[in-house]
């Protein structure tokens, strides 16, 4: 029995553990952790974690286009993690009951054909508390023009 329990414990990814803990944590802290987890999951092609973070009806806007959850996961699955790097800058979390708005900025470095480009983005993410956990229901960003 102990062995089975240990195996189950070992099989639990940090994602699942975090989701279990987030019900007890303050919403703002849980959402900050999820924002960090989202970046980590994206940079490691971790679609299992992303599937838990994104609501099935998420509205995701990428370069002005609406992208479905399935299309986003498909892109991440085939993305070479060494070509893109995202560095988060300070974020702000506003909680409105079972809804939270996160605003902030990040730097994205893309490497294509030996060229390196740096873009700064400002984003707005919307999270909703559903079935004892926070899920991303909308996300989008705009390039910061200097």
């Amino acid at each position: 029995m102990k062995a089975i329990l240990s195996l189950i414990f070992l099989c639990c990814s940090p994602t699942i553990l975090l989701r279990a803990q987030q019900t007890d944590a303050a919403p703002s802290g849980a959402i900050r952790a999820l924002e960090h987890e989202w970046v980590e999951a994206q940079s490691h092609n971790d679609n299992r974690a992303l599937d838990l973070i994104l609501d099935n009806a998420v509205v995701y806007v990428e370069y002005g286009q609406l992208v479905s959850k399935a299309d986003y996961l498909l892109r991440i699955k085939h993305q070479d993690p060494s070509t893109d790097e995202i560095v988060m800058e300070p974020i702000n979390v506003r909680v409105f009951g079972s809804t939270a708005i996160v605003t902030g900025s990040y730097r994205e470095t893309q490497r294509r054909a030996g060229m390196r480009s740096l873009t700064r983005w400002r984003f707005v993410d919307t999270w909703a508390y559903k079935k004892h956990s926070w899920v991303l229901i909308a996300a989008g960003s705009a390039t910061i023009r200097d």
Binding site: D55, A57, V59, V61, Y63, G64, Q65, L66, R94, F96, G97, S98, T99, I101, T103, S105, R120, W121, R122, F123, V124, T126, A128, K130, I137, A138, G140, S141, A142, T143, I144, R145
Partner: protein, 146 residues
Amino acid sequence: MRCGILLTTLLGLLVSHGAAQNSERRDIEGKLLALERVGKLQAIQLKDLKMLDEVLDENFVLVDQDGLQLNKAQVLAYVQKATSLRYLASEMTARLHGNTAIVTGVYRLDGVLAGRRFEQHGRFVDTWIERKGKWLAIASLSTPLS
């Protein structure tokens, strides 16, 4: 036999409850689209600051298509300052998540600000929450169409 009748009745009740919920959802989504048209688009065009003040939450945040972040007071000041504004939207959809809603659409905004003519074309993602029976906008993102 009696068991079958009970099961049929129960299924009928569930289906009718589901249909009522869908109808209610559609009603709310329709109401939100109307609110976007009147409370946002029309209010901006007519420079109706009173209406904007009513529909924007005190903690409202906007990220515009240049990546600038504005709060409610800054948005109201921007609208007031503009000499003329024309705001058109299409492809609008609303998605309800309990007492939170995401409204998306494509917009075209043009006008004159500080003596300079400008034109923007992009996609918006607005987040609304229901508070005491009233829907309030808490966040808005605008991003150029690629």
